[in-house]
């Protein structure tokens, strides 16, 4: 506790006193560190996937059909003899791309809308909050299905669906922080000295929301990855023959009576990555912003 200032008396309490102390605390949190290792492994494997995959992920009959794990095929093969390890590695690349793209989009738009709601006139705030509530009362998957019906399945549709449904999460926290700060004494003082809206935004508001946003984003990654895999599992996300953890699971589901291995191969990375991001996110939250603990 003594390493990072966390009291509300400091205007920049959302940030750790230094990255070094944050890192030391992460290393001390066993579960958090485990999460960090899983996350790091996932990112490295996803980036290097095309070079470390032992076979082509779409090449059929590189081995027998629905084979159990062996030295040649560490995770076995699927119903048309594709190497599951290679497919899982390339699927990780899809998951990472979707996670990165949606969170970047949702963060940017959510930040802007949250500022508009918190800083703008009351009527705008009311409308935006109502919109946030409305979006949050559609189940992500069901909303996704509506969009897929109209736009057709594909990676970009997945990114669109997941970003739209995550925007309110970010916008709400930015709005709350902005409202709390817009009449803080030091902001009033700054305004009295003639500071423009951009100076107030970037010097005072932004540093205060970065911490909570980073924490939320890291906790949002498992949801994003699960949604991508879910839509692809339903045949509404990534198009075959491209590999995604969801399409691997879909193939596995179809042939579940013949072999358990495709389902196991497709689910292990989902479980490890969601666990990794959750543990890592909880550790980050404890480091960055203990106040969030009550909300999540």
């Amino acid at each position: 506790m003594s390493l990072a200032p966390t009291t509300s008396s400091s205007p920049k309490s959302g940030r750790p006193s230094s990255w070094r102390s944050g890192w030391r605390r992460l290393a001390a949190d066993r579960l958090g560190f485990f999460g960090f290792v899983l996350v790091a492994l996932f990112i490295v494997a996803a980036i290097l996937a095309p070079w470390i995959a032992p076979y082509s992920p779409t090449q059929i009959m590189v081995g027998p059909r629905l084979a159990p794990p062996s030295w040649e095929h560490w995770l076995g093969t699927d119903q048309i003899g594709r190497d599951l390890l290679s497919r899982v590695l390339l699927g990780g690349r899809v998951a990472l791309t979707v996670a990165f793209a949606t969170i970047a989009a949702a963060l940017t738009i959510g930040f802007a809308l949250g500022l508009a709601a918190g800083f703008g006139p009351a009527w705008l705030d009311n409308i935006l909050v109502l919109l946030f509530d409305a979006v949050r009362s559609f189940p992500t998957i069901v909303f996704g299905l509506a969009v897929v019906t109209l736009l057709g399945p594909g990676l970009s549709t997945v990114v669109l669906v997941v970003s739209v449904t995550s925007i309110p999460i970010y916008a709400r926290i930015v709005r709350t922080q902005t409202q709390a700060l817009r009449h803080a004494d030091y902001v009033d003082a700054e305004r009295a000295m003639g500071a423009g809206i951009f100076r107030i935004l970037f010097v005072h508001i932004l540093p205060n929301v970065v911490g909570p946003l980073v924490v939320l984003a890291s906790m949002d990654v498992p949801l994003v990855i699960a949604t991508e895999a879910g839509l692809s599992f339903l045949g509404l996300g990534v198009r075959p023959p491209m590999a995604s953890w969801g399409t691997i699971l879909n193939d596995g589901y179809t042939f579940i009576r013949n072999s358990p291995w495709p389902v196991i191969a497709g689910s292990i990375p989902i479980v490890l990555v969601t666990l990794g991001f959750t543990f890592f996110g909880e550790a980050l939250r404890d480091i960055f912003d203990p106040r969030l603990r009550r909300d999540v």
Partner: protein, 312 residues
């Protein structure tokens, strides 16, 4: 209290209205002829003409939306473009399956979650508390369709204890078919609810009125069951109320994986057939159910907690 209920009702209606506008706007926002988009590759000129007329797509967006809204108020959500049956009757014939599944999932997980949460709060630091903590974080983050697939793999395909396909008949038959899907949906909620109940229980056991009850010499059992528990489950009620959204998402997968009838299975089929009126009807009905659930959870909160009731 009345004003509170009315305000919440107004908000609920507004959310449904936004859903209607959004879903209809999407039709017009997509480039190209919306009728062709809806019907996809199966469109014949005659079918296109019929759909355009049935859905009012030849009229401007705002008139079409207003007409749709007016029809909705009379319980009319249009007709299925392929079979000509009423969308409302199709959706409502599937809704009970989904609601039963969601209710079963939430009942077992809430019961177990509250017990584990209370136990963890009383025996803080015990190995049960610690392992429940780690387990709940783990189950929360594993997606429900992965749970469902493993349930299917182990208990239906492997051990053959439970059926893999369908919904069963008769009470016990249906219950038998419900076990695996309800397990898959509920398991992550056990952890969620246990965590929330544990936290609020710890807070309440340190609160002034509980300290006073102790000072009066009330037994711990009496304190817990007549004072603390009622308040401690409040956050869990809120959690379930706001979580109905996620329960619906999870139900979609459970229905597809266990080949059960229900809204989820209906909507996935409709998407594959590009049957937008059915998709639209399913989304509207789920949105209405979700909005109602949130409303009910707010009212239950007010009913259980005198502090909230006073504030209204």
């Amino acid at each position: 209290m009345l004003i509170f209920v009315l305000r919440r009702l107004a908000l609920s209606v507004a959310i449904v209205a936004i859903a209607v506008v959004l879903l209809n706007a999407m039709l017009h926002l997509v480039p190209g002829d919306p009728t062709v988009m809806i019907l996809g590759p199966r469109a014949t000129p005659e079918l296109i003409e019929r759909t355009r007329e049935a859905m009012g797509l030849d009229r401007p967006f705002y008139i079409q939306t207003l007409t749709f809204f007016g029809n909705l108020l009379r319980g009319d959500m249009g007709v299925d473009v392929f079979t000509g049956r009423s969308v409302a009757s199709i959706v409502f014939s599937q809704l009970p399956y989904t609601l039963t599944l969601i209710a079963a999932s939430i009942v077992w997980s809430a019961a177990l979650g509250i017990v584990i949460g209370c136990y963890s709060a009383f025996r803080r630091g015990s190995w049960i508390d610690l392992s429940a903590g780690v387990l709940s974080v783990s189950t929360i983050s594993v997606p429900s369709f992965v749970m469902a697939l493993y349930g299917l793999l182990i208990f239906a395909v492997g051990l053959r204890w439970f059926p893999a396909v369908g919904a069963g008949t008769g009470f016990w038959g249906q219950a038998h078919y419900l076990v695996l899907p309800a397990f898959a949906i509920g398991i992550s909620w056990v952890g969620y609810i246990a965590r929330v109940v544990r936290a609020s229980m710890l807070e309440i056991l340190g609160a002034n009125h509980v300290r006073m009850a102790r000072a009066f010499g009330l037994t711990e059992r009496r304190i817990v069951f007549s004072y603390a528990l009622k308040i401690a489950v409040l956050p869990a009620v809120t959690l379930i109320g706001t979580g109905v959204v996620h329960l619906f998402s999870a139900a979609v997968f459970a229905e597809v994986i266990f080949s059960r009838p229900g809204i989820g299975a209906l909507i996935v089929n409709a998407v594959n057939e590009r049957n937008y009126p059915i998709v639209l009807g399913c989304i509207l009905v789920t949105t209405i159910v979700i909005v109602l659930a949130t409303l009910v959870s707010d009212l239950v909160n007010a009913w259980l907690d005198p502090r909230i009731r006073e504030a209204l």
